[in-house]
């Protein structure tokens, strides 16, 4: 948008473009997308969805903010270190299977049960959800890390923790 404006003759557009519509809509749409991603995440057990898609969508929502604002503002809005998040996600992926292993089951043996709740009715509970939380975090953080790396000027040779299903 900046270059188009420059072509049109607006020379002094060095500073951040102040597109009010985009900024305002981005905030609202961000919430919508995040909600949808959480919905997708939880529906992922029996129907299409799950950690990977949900994580990608969450990353997409944050990237929308990045487009509307710039990297500096985004870092001030969301103070999360992506590398820490990748570590946390990997740990979340592993902790549950390891704990379950100590109950005498083979690795990755998941437990599940059905719970009767007053409002929601029958709700399935599954330990695999905790694994999926890890996947969600890793995918979102990795995507963000790579895109912010590509976006920032002085990016260094950095390694992503690599999402592992």
């Amino acid at each position: 948008m900046k270059s188009t404006l420059k072509k049109l003759g607006y020379n002094r557009v060095h500073k951040q473009m102040n597109d009010v519509f985009l900024k305002y809509t981005a905030k609202v749409v961000f919430l919508v997308i995040i909600t949808f991603s959480i919905n997708l995440f939880f529906s992922g057990h029996y129907t299409p969805g799950g950690g990977f898609v949900g994580g990608l969508l969450a990353a997409g929502a944050i990237i929308l903010l990045l487009l509307a604002y710039d990297l500096k503002t985004l870092n001030r809005m969301i103070r999360i270190d992506n590398k820490r998040m990748i570590t946390a996600g990997l740990a979340a992926c592993l902790i549950v299977p390891i704990l379950l292993m100590f109950f005498g089951n083979p690795f990755f043996t998941h437990q599940h049960m059905y719970l009767q709740l007053p409002v929601f009715g029958e709700v399935p509970l599954h330990t695999a959800v905790l694994f999926d939380v890890g996947v969600y975090i890793i995918v979102a953080a990795t995507t963000l890390l790579i895109i912010t790396l590509l976006a920032s000027e002085q990016f260094m040779s950095d390694s992503e923790g690599a999402d592992r299903e």
């Binding site: 740990a91 390891i98 292993m101 083979p106 690795f107 040779s157 390694s159 923790g161």
Partner: protein, 497 residues
């Protein structure tokens, strides 16, 4: 017990990698401590696994408690156990070697976590009993290797790293294709189950020959067999020595292991085509490697081309698929992991000490480093296969098997290649350690005790490996059994329908 044990070689480095990531990039000392402790722990675990497998036979767990042909099984037979042990020892040596060689900048950029993830992937590929799971673990260690090869971001690393990506991504895609063909033809992904189904099948299985060719394309690219080795000398040349060591010692061996596993379990129907093809490629690899090893005067290149020769010799043993050949191949495989690591360490020491990798510019180092010089000579003899050292026994078995099966020319080429290997490595020894003394004031004042520790450790293990060959024979016999008698590998499926 049997539920936890087979998972550990894959799980322990992975956890260590996560811990290292969590520590962050400021505390390099803690990184070193955790990485080397993990190496030690891995050695202990894999020794225990070897002892356990030697005593009770194959150890199996079914991930997620799904029954065997349907879920993913982790199967450690003796071959996998020995490879895991060798991997663990090399890991520890590489980590210790890195302390004084890789440089603080790279250490801060998550060097140790990437090594750990890579070891996790390598161990996973060795221990899995499921062909698609093997693909996943291939991707895990390849992804880490992509990061490692470009870590630091010098120009040659980026340039060669990109080519390495491209070659490996294409090969990985064809791996998926091969798995897809296999799944549509056999309807199973568990390797032992595929073997049982194919053994019980008495129809036209000519589609398996096609799958064999696709699989060979994939694994030959990873292992560096004849037409597909073109990427190997360039890519392995680029990264710094410890990374080059772990690539040269372990990554190609995973490809060799995959070829051995897949060809012994799946393609026993039309061996006239598939195993002849393997044999031919192996011989051509040996010839090409020999030409390269003589042609260069750069130490790194010489050793890299020696990798190709060793790969060719191992594959020649595997292509025979009889008892003699596979025992020789497994023995030579483990031997080659140690000796390649040792040689890379030693020339790495020379390069770090002198700042030169061209042998014509070096000389007379034996006056300053006598022990290193003689160690290098022992390593060179070990690589070429001088009798009490282990290279000899491996080649003896392989060549005997080749002659017994009437492959006279191949046998002679394997024997002649020993001469080439000896010549190429002794050339390094003569011009670097003997000859005109170079300008000793140019030597870099680095501390090198840990570099020498790793190098000597590898050479000593190699020598012990040779002298203990008689004692170790039962282990290699049972390791080779799952190759020449694949029914013994799929025996864990007997209880299930």
């Amino acid at each position: 017990m049997t539920d936890i044990l087979p998972i550990l070689p894959m799980l322990v480095p992975f956890i260590a990698g996560i811990i290292l990531l969590a520590i962050g990039r400021t505390n390099v000392f803690l990184h070193r401590v955790v990485a080397s402790l993990t190496g030690l722990l891995l050695i202990i675990i894999s020794f225990f696994i070897v002892a356990y497998v030697a005593r009770y036979g194959m150890v199996v767990t079914h991930v997620g408690n799904w029954e065997a042909p349907f879920g993913i099984s982790v199967v450690i037979d003796m071959l996998a156990a020995l490879l895991v042990l060798a991997t663990a020892i090399v890991t520890l040596a590489v980590v210790v070697y890195s302390f004084q060689s890789i440089g603080a900048a790279r250490e801060k950029f998550f060097y140790y976590p990437m090594i750990m993830f890579m070891i996790s992937g390598i161990n996973g590929a060795f221990t899995t009993g499921d062909i698609f799971n093997m693909f996943v673990f291939f991707e895990v260690f390849l992804l880490s290797s992509y990061v490692l090869i470009t870590l630091g971001g010098t120009k040659i690393q980026l340039q060669e790293g990109f080519k390495y990506f491209l070659v490996n991504i294409i090969a990985s895609n064809f791996f998926v294709l091969a798995v897809a063909y296999l799944y549509s033809a056999v309807g199973s992904l568990n390797m032992a189950d595929i073997h049982n189904k194919l053994a019980a099948f008495d129809g036209d299985a000519s589609i398996m020959s096609l799958i064999a060719v696709v699989m060979l394309f994939v694994f030959a690219t990873k292992a560096g067999l004849f037409p597909f080795y073109f990427w190997l000398p360039g890519s392995y040349f680029a990264p710094p020595m410890p990374i080059m060591t772990i690539f040269g010692a372990l990554l190609t061996k995973v490809g060799v292991y995959a070829i051995a596993r897949v060809y012994s379990l799946f393609f026993m129907d039309n061996t006239g085509l598939t195993h002849q093809m393997l044999m031919l490629l192996a011989v051509l690899t040996i010839i090409m490697g020999s030409i390269g090893a003589i042609a260069y005067s750069d130490m790194k290149k010489i050793i890299i081309y020696n990798i190709l020769i060793a790969i060719g010799i191992i594959i020649a043993g595997i292509a025979m698929m009889d008892e003699m050949g596979t025992i020789g191949a497994t023995y030579y495989l483990i031997h080659d992991i140690f000796i390649k690591a040792g040689l890379f360490f030693l020339i790495g020491f020379i390069i770090y000490r002198t700042g030169e990798s061209d042998i014509t510019k070096l000389g007379g180092l034996i006056k300053i480093h006598p022990v290193t010089g003689w160690m290098f000579l022992i390593a060179a003899f070990g690589l070429a296969g001088v009798p009490p050292l282990p290279g000899f026994y491996g080649k003896l078995f392989i060549v005997t098997s080749l002659f017994e099966n009437g492959h006279m020319i191949s046998g002679i080429i394997v024997l002649l290649s020993s001469l080439v290997v000896l010549y190429s490595v002794i050339r390094i020894f003569i011009s670097v350690f003997w000859g005109e003394s170079m300008d000793f004031t140019k030597l870099k004042p680095i501390s090198y005790d840990k570099l020498l520790f790793s190098s000597f450790l590898m050479v000593i293990i190699m020598v012990a490996f040779g002298f203990g060959a008689d004692f170790l024979y039962p282990l290699f016999d049972s390791a080779a059994q799952s190759l020449y008698d694949p029914a013994s590998y799929s025996v864990y499926l007997l209880g299930v329908e």
